[in-house]
Symmetry: C2
DNA sequence: AAACTATTGACCACTCCGGTCAATCATGCT
DNA sequence: AGCATGATTGACCGGAGTGGTCAATAGTTT
């Protein structure tokens, strides 16, 4: 966050941030209401404008915060020495899940930012990110390539398509989980159960796209797990 | 559509329907504006209320129309004798693509209907559909089971998970295609290209999840195609 | 030209918007 | 205790947009 906002009580600050993220995630800028935000955050209207100056400044401050948070979370919490693509993507998905638990509407918010600017392509989104000095394009590339060993794929001719399929699956899987997060109670235990389920699915994917290993390999092991 | 609306010029009627669907797809009921709808449809405000009576009645009429249209499209255009699950799902995805081309915001609209009613689960959505006399639950079940031969799966122990993965992939794939539809020009040629791409991906999935066939099988053939 | 229907858009009362600011509250200092 | 200082409130503002109405107009048929 910025200047003034840094010094306020963190608990209250997070209440405001989450309320604002939820509002801007639910509605495009014009229809998002500062009145709703202050109600959800439990503060007065005057205070909000005291902190942020205007709706527009609050929006921009939020974007800066969200982009920075996301960038740090992904670049720092991923094990870049991992050479198995599936385990890498499992990590990425797990990180996303943890972010969604802390800020349940953050991904929807980012989606809205991009849509609001009428950006159609991934490349267009990367351009937007660069305005904030964050090279998501590089991170995205690294995610799928850095230190990755592709030799285990069964059919070298369809690696690109296989990765697409895995990416789509994990993204959609993550979205479905997100919906089940929303009005949750016993979060932590549930969360562990979900990570086990994720591991299991990744195991099935390995079995599908990798050359078959002799019995006792990682995929077969994780297949023995819960679900 | 209903009573009065049936008799009006179909071209104008579709203009109104599409404008309304887009508005209700973009905003929740309260924030959707009848003014926007009449502007997009190119009719006067009075006429809209002459046809539908009120915003609420228009909304309900739309829901009835959309549910019915979707139900008919899926149940009638699918080849229920198809025994290959992947080809079945390819058909379903293709049908969805065609619907999206005619009514670009129909799926978003349906999603909003469900979210607006605060329905979290698939079962809850089925309940809603049943209010309109349409047994989507049965259709959904049929989609994955009716006349389907599961014997070609490589690992019988992970069929359920494999289907989840394929379903997620195809849904996400469809969503990504939808975004590229939006402000399109040369739709028909593009559409054929997309169907070829879909076929190709389904081929890769077959190769991944089915027991390997001798050379010259369907999967290998479709791999030889475009992309 | 009369009768009838389809269509218009100015208009209404009302709600909600982003933003302001004098008043109040909380705190610590002397 | 009184005072000063900064944090916080919420009633209030002009303006924009809302769903809905209805007398007037345009178009068509008799």
């Amino acid at each position: 966050m910025d200047d003034v906002i840094r010094n306020i009580d963190p608990e209250k600050r997070d209440r405001i941030v989450n309320a604002a993220i939820e509002e801007f995630a639910s509605f495009p800028y014009d229809k998002a209401s500062t009145n709703h935000i202050v109600e959800k955050a439990g503060i007065s209207k005057g205070l909000l404008f005291h902190y942020f100056g205007s709706k527009q400044e609050m929006y921009e401050t939020l974007i800066r915060f969200v982009f920075g948070y996301m960038y740090t979370a992904i670049t720092e919490k991923i094990d870049w020495d991992e050479s198995d693509l599936f385990d890498r993507l499992e990590q990425v998905t797990a990180v996303k899940m943890r972010i969604s638990r802390t800020y349940p509407h953050m991904f929807d918010f980012m989606k809205n930012i991009v849509l609001n600017k009428r950006i159609g392509s991934l490349e267009g989104a990367f351009e937007l990110y660069k305005e904030f000095g964050l090279d998501f394009e590089q991170v995205y590339k690294d995610m799928y390539t850095r230190n990755i060993d592709y030799s285990r794929f069964r059919d070298p001719a369809t690696i690109t398509e296989s990765i697409d399929i895995v990416r789509w699956s994990l993204e959609k899987y993550g979205e479905e989980l997100l919906l089940s997060f929303r009005e949750d109670t016993d979060i932590e235990t549930d969360f562990n159960r979900l990570e086990a389920s994720l591991k299991h699915y990744v195991g099935v994917m390995k079995q599908a796209f990798y050359t078959q290993q002799p019995a006792g390999d990682a995929a077969a092991e994780s297949n023995a797990q819960a679900r």
